[in-house]
Amino acid sequence: MKAKLLTKTILYALLAVFMIWTVGPYLWTIISSISLPIELTAKPPHWIPRQPTLENYKKLLQLVGEYRVATATRSSLRQNLLYSFFISCVTTALCILFGSLSAYSFSRHPFRGSSFLFFLIFGSQLLPFIVLAIPLYITLARLRLLDKLGTLIFLYISFTLPFVIWLMKNYFEMIPKDIEDAAMIDGCTPIRALVRVVLPVCAPGLVATGIFSFLGAWNEFFLALIFMSRTQTITLSVATLVFGWTHRSDLPLVATGAVIASLPPVLLALLFQKFIIRGLMQGAVKG
């Protein structure tokens, strides 16, 4: 009995270490964001702020920064936040629309060569981004499509769709075919059967897919840096980093930037954790 208690204590201790490692850095960033600069420059820093403050948030959201990415531009973080929000929402909506149609076709109405096509689409996920970025940059520069919101949205869709199609196909295949067969016997066209019967049953899958797309677009940095850096329409990812570098001596302000950029995805993830964990885990088991 004693040995068992000992193992249990050790296990809990290890788990505690693992969780501190997982949550600690983010927690410290949140603490930094509500601290005054002197609390962080103290040696050692005040691990718990003596005078917690929301001043940094106010300051950051009102800040209109001038910064250089490729050329000097002026922009406010609030504006960047709106851009990112808009881009992520449109990307998510279109990915779900195109993705569910394709996945439905792949899973329910296969044709000759469709499994090969699916394999091709799925395989494109393993392509290195940089291979595509160079030719895309040249083509888009020739077409004068650089620094346009729409361009970035289409790029995000193309890079997210393969994953979305794969995920939705998995969800569709878990649904018994009888439900839609019944609907079609009742006179539904296949599209109506998809919209009225299949999609509602797949709602948890749709939520998970939507969040994955939103997070992907919101968190993306590389393409946003290359394709959107010459105008004011930079996304929050790029803006956060540039703000972070420009104000690097103001530790709490930099931390606040990181919190603002990460709060939407983190909150979404925590709020819909059930769907996301199920989505991720389903992927793991299916391989």
Binding site: K8, Y12, L14, L15, T22, V23, P25, Y26, W28, T29, K43, P44, P45, L97, F98, L101, S102, Y104, H109, F111, I121, S124, L127, P128, I130, V131, I134, P135, L136, Y137, T139, F154, L155, I157, S158, F159, P190, L215, N219, F222, I226, S237, V238, T240, L251, G257, A258, V259, A261, S262, P265, V266, A269, L270, Q273, I276, I277, L280, A284, V285
Partner: protein
């Protein structure tokens, strides 16, 4: 007209299936397949500053890449980076999954908290670690000072070449280990309990159960995760850009960062960048094929 509408409404007609795929297919063709082909063309040529003049140069770009010592240095660093990240990630991820699978209390809360690093944008990840690893005010030096390991804030985690690579690896592991843990946890929980019961009856201890039962059954998942990590690490750009910008010196200038620098920032050498990125593509394909072979050989059933 009538026949088309009939064809459309008849399930299982190729026209119907293709129409559903069409939007996705067009986007993927235009933004993935076309660039892939175009990149090959660029890699055999020189592109003018206005992106219009194209001059075929044969294998010159590839030759220049292979003869460039800086690139070989970057490739070696990349090897160090992807192996370091992947090995440590798999160990940390596995440890976390095993801990969460022991039936301790609060499992679901811990599982939820794992989503935090996973959801944090790579850029925010960079900033988080930038402030933790800051030499003069960072939390890590602060912690070491607090518990008395260092007498003064003396360790430049990102300023010392040998430490910088380790620091970037730690930051990458922090963001991705929860994902690995969740994936492995899912596989662990799909192993039927009876297998463990009968192994226990046969007198197999924890270590033997792990080595002869858990590990082989997890193998497909572990191999897939290893593949994904290798490819992702090969492409890693955001974190390096945010944390070290390839520095100090060239200490963390991995290949993805090197290509970006050469192509988009410093030299505007599109032909060379395309050639190098094609070499990276071939490496990724090589890793994938290796994975496909190993994973076919390693499948087990009980």
């Amino acid at each position: 007209m009538r026949s088309i509408s009939e064809l459309w409404n008849r399930p299982r007609s190729p026209l119907f299936s293709l129409t559903l795929i069409l939007p996705s297919l067009l986007i993927i063709l235009a933004l993935i397949v076309y660039p892939l082909v175009f990149s090959l063309v660029i890699s055999f040529g020189k592109v003018g500053a206005n992106f219009r003049n194209y001059q075929f140069v044969g294998f010159a770009n590839y030759l220049a890449v292979l003869l460039n010592r800086e690139i070989w240095h970057a490739l070696l660093l990349t090897l160090e980076w992807i192996l370091g990240v992947t090995v440590i990630l798999m160990f940390v991820g596995m440890a976390g999954a095993l801990l969460l699978n022991t039936g301790l209390r609060g499992q679901s809360i811990f599982r939820t908290l794992l989503l935090i690093p996973w959801a944090v944008p790579p850029v925010a990840n960079g900033i988080i670690w930038l402030s933790i690893l800051n030499k003069n005010y960072g939390a890590l030096n602060g912690l070491l000072y607090q518990i008395g390991i260092i007498r003064d804030y003396s360790i430049g985690w990102l300023e010392t070449p040998t430490l910088a690579m380790a620091s970037v690896i730690v930051a990458q592991v922090w963001k991705w280990s929860p994902f690995i843990t969740l994936m492995i946890l899912a596989s662990l929980q799909s192993i039927p309990e009876e297998l463990y019961e009968s192994a226990k009856i046969d007198g197999a201890g924890f270590i033997r159960r792990f080595a002869y039962l858990t590990l082989p059954l997890l193998m497909p998942t572990l191999l897939l995760l290893t593949l994904l990590n290798l490819v992702w690490a090969l492409n890693a750009f955001d974190l390096i850009y945010a944390l070290t910008q390839g520095g100090p010196g060239n200490a963390t200038k991995v290949i993805a960062y090197y290509i970006w620098k050469q192509t988009f920032s410093a030299a505007a050498d599109f032909g060379g960048g395309a050639a190098l990125s094609y070499i990276i593509l071939l490496i990724s394909i090589g890793i994938t094929f290796f994975y496909a072979r190993v994973s076919r050989a390693k499948r087990v059933e009980y």
